[in-house]
Amino acid sequence: MFKVKTLISVLALSIFFSYSSKAVESQDPIKLTLHDWTGQLITTNIMAEVLKEAGYNIELVQADYIAQFAGLQTGDLHVAMEMWETTGRDAIDEYTPDGRVINVGSTGMDAIEEWWYPSYMKDECPGLPNWEVLNECAEAFSTMETAPNGRYLGGPVTWGGFDDERVEALGLDWEVIHAGTDAALFAELESAYQRKAPIMLWIYAPHWAPSKFDGEFVEFPAYTSECYNDPSWGINPNSAYDCGKPRGPIWKVASSQLKDKWPGAYNAVEAFTISNDEMGQMVAAVDLDGNSVEAVVADWMDNNKSRWQSWIK
């Protein structure tokens, strides 16, 4: 009997010591959400590794990009590392006002979303990337169903983006076709690129596509908030949306529980920053060169030690 007791207390002590070697507020796992694009997996895994180094207990959970807000609100989930200004603004506005979900600040990355074409199309339409030549080139970008209008493949309707309005406002002879998902979007790009066929579509960055395929974004009149709200602004005096798409930060959001229960971890999440270029390279290393997310993240951790150590000070 005595022996068993000793064994238990030794075990308990050893567990106590192994945990107390790095003192953090709570040993309950902090839940970070994973979505289904590589860039987000990378940012989340970097954050997870950094928090682990600080002694926190981490759990990675699959969750839907928008549906996760319900979980962040109740405290089922704690951190979402990428909430894009361009696609997540509505959700942020809906869930942050009552204080249960907090916008922890920018990740340092800027989202770009715009019309994009592969470089070989410049031979057909030398005036690109200036948007003013779009009408002259419409026919070069047309297909059997849209001829003589150009065909622009937009994002899923859920992404918004006001492309139908933009075509109207700028008087473009183009037809907007909506893809249902981004997988479909890039499948069309891959297919057209293999055949060197004309294509104009919605691309966003940071993403692997701009590094895999050679091409450029169309240059529309730059976005301002007046352009979207005030019809008299811009080229078309009677219509809003006569400009390009907004570019904006990618935010980090967290449950208020993170701040209350693990203030140190909250500060680390707040301090996290990374640049578009760094991210583009890591995404390409995973999606194009076939490395695992873990390996790429481990590489980054080795090369940026002083940076992440300052986050968890």
Binding site: P29, E59, D64, E145, T158, A184, F186, E188
Partner: protein, 661 residues
């Protein structure tokens, strides 16, 4: 005489509808009747807002006094989570102490050799050596093609979803057999569960049961449950009354009668239900992975996001293989009759297989400590066919794109667009009138009123146009699926070898996740209705083939012989005897094709269609509970209307030919 008049009325109504669809919309617009084409926005009833707010109330404030509604749902997820965690740890994760990243491994998961061995032994015990060989090589495939870890995660979720689905299904089946009242309530709910697109109830489930694999399991159980209830109910209903009488005479009380007499007599139907639950659970693998189930479904999704077509195909085929092996095993279980072991047999002899399994598990654990190979399949021995798939698609794309484009253009112009135009320009009051009339013809007042209510629901929610696009897309796909599937089915019905080949193709198409072929189809045909239609056809082809084969094969051979004796040639035999007699069965096949096509439409929203499926999908991405449920109900209602009409037509036809129902 009356028959020809009826035919005349049908043709007249159809032509009238055609005329109305072509000319009415301009006419109605000029004379200020535009409301008949487009339901006015001001009259739309905001069902979706009510639904959203009532779900919100359920989660945040509903209470039973001692505990809240939220506590109840969380308790349910806890009950499901415990066995799931154990099985998942056993086959995939290993057992850990502690939580999150600080957990420490106590016991590693079962070695792949042990799992392959166990499944093979179970196969031998269920049937014979050939099933065992199939099982052995199938599981070996999973290891060799590097799908092991994900397959085990998927298998673990199937092992949990199936028993829960079966148990709940049997309970519902029994209560609907015992009480007419319960039957009246359960039946319509089942119809909804079966026809409602899964995407529509994912968000409510997430909110109620929390994030993670449990919600995915619950969604799977809901989706796979209905056939279990149906088969249990039908099995119990079909028991010969004299058996029950005999039970009563032996002095059984109600409990004894149920468990000792009725359930054993209905066992074969119940086993068929189990088989259905397994197959449907596999259909949910992809969707479940969207809300955190992980496993093979997740692999399919992520590889397609990376445009890694080969990776998607391999993971998809792993799902097909698991589904087919478990399907064969469950069928073997259905066909198996209980053998009573001889008393004289020794303990060792009676439990021979069990002992081998235990020895296998223990020895693989022990040896796994010394030999890494036994613990997990070595990575450098894995194969991949990825490059092959990628290259094939690229080859077709580069060389045959123009021909495919032309084919698509003509099919769109002369087949799809006219159908679309026909449906979207029929004024809704006229469409409802026609369907009420059809309801009256096939099911009298009951069906007529049902059709009226269901269609009115679609109209007042402002989803009429999207519903019509749904009907067009589904209708065009079903027509082509039948044009391809029924002739193939006839061929399979007449030819044994064709039957074998067609059946395995149909099995594969039915279990292969549609995501796998959606992306290559987009590459060859771009996004849009045509791509959506191709995907729907591929998915819904199977029942058209299978039911036709079954219909032709189950014709009484005496009738065929009589035909031959009367000097029919093969052509006459087919068109005058076989096809008319198989027609009711073929109609049921068409019905099933329509059901599958409707359930697939939600997925086609991913390639940019604009119908109810898109509505459901938008609601899903915006986490709008009410909007998703309303659009989901509309899809379900379309399915229910067509299901009712076709089933009654099939019944009428069977009566006409004097076939037993």
């Amino acid at each position: 005489m009356s028959l020809t008049r009826k035919k005349f009325v049908f043709i007249f109504l159809f032509l009238l509808t055609l005329l109305i669809s072509v000319f009415a919309s301009d006419f109605l617009k000029t004379y200020d009747f535009a409301w008949a084409i487009k339901f006015p926005k001001s009259l739309i009833f905001p069902f979706k807002i009510y639904i959203s707010s009532s779900i919100k109330w359920l989660i945040e404030s509903a209470t039973f006094g001692i505990f809240t509604f939220n506590d109840l749902t969380r308790a349910i997820s806890w009950v499901i989570e415990q066995p799931y965690e154990i099985i998942l740890s056993l086959v995939a994760k290993g057992f850990y102490s502690g939580q999150g990243s600080q957990a420490e491994l106590i016991l590693s998961p079962m070695s792949w050799i042990a799992v392959v061995g166990i499944m093979t032994i179970v196969a031998i015990k269920l049937k014979d050596l050939s099933l065992a060989i199939l099982t052995f090589f199938s599981f070996l495939y999973l290891a060799i093609f590097d799908q092991w870890q994900s397959s085990m995660v998927t298998l673990a979720s199937i092992f949990i979803a199936v028993p829960f689905g079966v148990a709940i299904g049997i309970l519902f089946g029994i209560s609907s057999y015992k009480s007419l009242f319960a039957h009246k309530i359960i039946n319509p709910i089942l119809n909804l569960m079966q026809t409602m697109p899964v995407f529509a109830y994912l968000v409510p489930i997430l909110v109620l049961f929390g994030f993670g694999p449990v919600s995915a399991l619950i969604a799977t159980i809901i989706y796979a449950l209905p056939p279990m209830v149906h088969t249990t109910y039908l099995g119990l209903k079909g028991i010969n009354p004299s058996i029950i009488e005999a039970g009563k005479m032996c002095g059984c009380n109600n409990q004894q009668l149920l468990w000792r007499v009725e359930i054993p007599s209905a066992l074969n139907s119940i086993k068929l239900g189990i088989n259905q639950v397994i197959m449907l659970s596999f259909n949910m693998v992809i969707i479940a992975s969207m809300i955190g189930a992980g496993g093979l479904g997740y692999d399919v999704l992520t590889s397609l996001r990376k445009l890694d077509i080969g990776g998607g195909v391999e993971a998809g085929l792993a799902i097909v293989i698991l589904a087919i092996v478990l399907d064969r095993m469950s069928f073997a279980y259905i066909g198996k009759h209980k053998k009573y072991s001889e008393k004289s047999a020794t303990f060792f002899k009676r439990n021979f297989h069990l002992i081998i399994i235990i020895v296998l598990i223990l020895s693989s654990y022990l040896l796994g400590v010394f030999v890494e190979f036994l613990k997990s399949y070595p990575e450098h021995f894995t194969l991949s066919t990825s490059a092959f798939w990628e290259k094939s698609i690229k080859f077709i794309n580069v060389n045959y794109y123009d021909q495919l484009e032309l084919f698509k253009f003509y099919l769109l112009k002369y087949f799809m667009l006219p159908i679309k135009g026909f449906f979207i320009s029929i004024p809704w009051p006229w469409f409802i009138f026609i369907l009420v009339l059809l309801g009256w013809h096939y099911g009298r007042a009951k069906l007529a009123i049902l059709n009226l209510i269901l269609l009115a629901f679609i109209v007042i929610n402002g989803l009429w146009l999207k519903a019509m696009v749904t009907i067009y897309l589904c209708g065009a796909s079903v027509i082509l699926a039948c044009l391809i599937g029924i002739p193939l089915g006839i061929w399979g019905g007449l030819n044994d070898r064709a039957n074998k080949i067609l059946s395995s193709i149909a099995d594969t198409l039915q279990t292969l996740p549609s995501f796998v072929y959606l992306i290559p189809v987009v590459m060859l045909f771009r996004v849009g209705d045509f791509t959506a239609m191709l995907a729907v056809i591929l998915y819904s082809l199977a029942p058209a083939v299978k039911y036709t084969i079954h219909g032709i094969r189950s014709i009484n051979s005496e009738i065929i012989d009589a035909g031959k004796a009367n000097g029919c040639n093969n052509r006459q035999l087919l068109f005058n005897i076989r096809l008319p007699l198989a027609l009711p069965e073929i109609l049921l096949g068409i019905n099933q094709t329509i059901m599958l096509a409707l359930s697939m439409l939600v997925i086609t929203a991913l390639v940019g269609t604009r119908e109810l499926g898109q509505e459901v999908y938008i609601a899903l991405t915006k986490a709008d509970i009410g909007r998703g449920l309303v659009a989901g109900l509309c899809v379900a209602f379309i399915a229910i209307i067509s299901d009712n009409l076709i089933k009654s037509a099939s019944k009428k036809m069977k009566l006409k030919y004097g076939l037993t129902l």
